[in-house]
Subunit: 410 residues, 2 copies
Amino acid sequence: MSIIVQKFGGTSVRDLECMRQVANKVQRKLRRGDKVVVVLSAMAGETDRLLCLAREWAPTPDLAEMDCLVSTGEQVSVSLFAMLLKSQGVNARSLLGFQVPIETNSNFSKARIASINSKKLKALLEIHDVLVIAGFQGSDCDQRITTLGRGGSDTSAVALAAALKADVCEIYTDVPGVFTTDPNICSLARKMERIAYDEMLEMASMGAKVLHIRSVEFAKKYNVKVHVRSTFSDEPGTIVTKEDEMEGVLVSGIAYDKDQARVTLVQVLDQPGISAAVFSPIAEQRILVDMIVQNPSKDGRTDITFTVPRADLEQTLKVIEGLKYEIGFEEVRHDKKVCKISVIGVGMRNHSGVASMAFRALSEENINILMISTSEIKITCLVEEKYTELAVRTLHNAFGLDKANGQNSC
Amino acid sequence: MSIIVQKFGGTSVRDLECMRQVANKVQRKLRRGDKVVVVLSAMAGETDRLLCLAREWAPTPDLAEMDCLVSTGEQVSVSLFAMLLKSQGVNARSLLGFQVPIETNSNFSKARIASINSKKLKALLEIHDVLVIAGFQGSDCDQRITTLGRGGSDTSAVALAAALKADVCEIYTDVPGVFTTDPNICSLARKMERIAYDEMLEMASMGAKVLHIRSVEFAKKYNVKVHVRSTFSDEPGTIVTKEDEMEGVLVSGIAYDKDQARVTLVQVLDQPGISAAVFSPIAEQRILVDMIVQNPSKDGRTDITFTVPRADLEQTLKVIEGLKYEIGFEEVRHDKKVCKISVIGVGMRNHSGVASMAFRALSEENINILMISTSEIKITCLVEEKYTELAVRTLHNAFGLDKANGQNSC
């Protein structure tokens, strides 16, 4: 008996017609003799409707009550869908977070899964062919309802797949899979057959919003094979899997992020503790500093450049202004018109030359690189925003990503 | 520390403005130093919306999934209301049926309460000043969500009051209390200060829809003082209480029920087992036969007359038709234009003469009595429907119900 987990988002269950399509996908697995665990989100728009209601009732609603409120969205989805399956003669039943139970900590509105009772689930799968489980929700040790934060249904699905040692966790979405880059700006972007967990994490954090980042972390930790695919077709999508199941691919994808702003402190006094003095007060404001570059010191002074999310620029500048006396810089420069471009690939771990290849490709197009930062599996360049599309297409082409996997392999 | 249970129906929580009024009523109790358990229904219209949705999804929806679905209505009410109270600085929290827990059997859509964990509730009342509990719902031994059937929130409230030994269970509704008869057809109808459980049961079953009948049974069994009162005023309503707290009232109220039809089997062969032969097949169709009269036999034949709910008349006639050969009656007569009028009062237990007083009053108005049945605390007459208003007013007047309690006492 194979266990398949299938997760469907809000647009996939937004009305009866859509739910019927989802039921077809479930029935297809049943005909193969599989047991199916279906994880559902709230019907599209429902969570937002409930959040609006809450804010009308209380300016800063109690988070525990908020979770109790919004969790009704998934409750409606799973009971309706289980009804539909039962009316089709399928031996199905719904399960809410507390019924599984999916135990979480008590961090309401962004709770973390602590454990899942797989024994109970397995016993239920002996009786039922399909379990329809509410995504996004769990319950704490006091049996209060918790939610896992935005995109939490992906995490629910992966966690359930891990607990049940499911063959695969299929995440159905409105795109056909994970692409080598954004098809909207690069017509040669190609759907990947496979992507490594770490690559997916980098893609996800760069705004490739196919999979919620925590679900990928979970999948990596428990080695869950995740299949990202389209609700609206039967084509296979992209398998997110272990690195060693990748076939020696050097570069997997090109990601970009326009939501960045660059800040430079000019002529900072270069003394021990200067970085902490700059970045601690920024961190205290919960602003996420991403790239940081410090030039070599000259005459005891240096320039410090870093990037922050564009929405946080004003506040960052305010914080910096307050540090002027303490740090003693000459001036602050900033630039909103920048874009972060990343070349991502687990193959880089064992190969040099990828960075220089990227730099050369960009320079051949006269794209000036404003900042560089690298990690084991990623090379990131900050460029002027106007070059975004050109830079993405150039790098996509340079690493042969328009061709089937393996073309850029070593 | 006094514990007060307050139950509010769907119209009382239908929007933010109404919920604010409910919050005021709760705050007033808090200022007296009471602990308050608030039991809420779903916002008006919500349960029906969900039921419609379910029927769209499946022609005969699975009842367990149905309960899971409709229970979200109360979940939304209690979380929003708890948010509101918390934003007003009240130490409140919500509780769903499974969190209390309110344990029920697994008779989905009309479950019966088996037990309530009062220890946990009392511990929570040490921490919180207000518990906002979802009415209408419970959970079975498998932790599946159940609902208690129409009007189940009343039952939830009374059961919670019983479990907590609350001082009083206040049922807020859109009428000021229980009246001696329907004020719409008798302008002299008077709000009763008190009514005995048994009287309330008779009034409720006769269509005085102020309190759900099962909640009254529960209140009687556990001796819970119930106060039926208006959400929209601060006037005291009607206390439903033990018989021995009534002050020697003979007749408390006049009820009527137009939803009746009369069926007569003419010239039935009067032999042993004839009643069973007639009424068993009707009962098997779950049709509720109410009044039954069998005339004295003559020449081995008798007439049997009984009443059924008007909506069940066609089906009843069909059943009877099928029995013709077996029973051997001459013909079947039926009449939809009838009305059942009841004189109700626990004082009758110890007094004769009430029935004859009622018959005389009706005859003085030339109202023909079609059938009579009596119980310990009730005299019921079937009359032609056109006499309904006149009969009610006549009896109301005959027993002095327009005057304050005690006028018709002994």
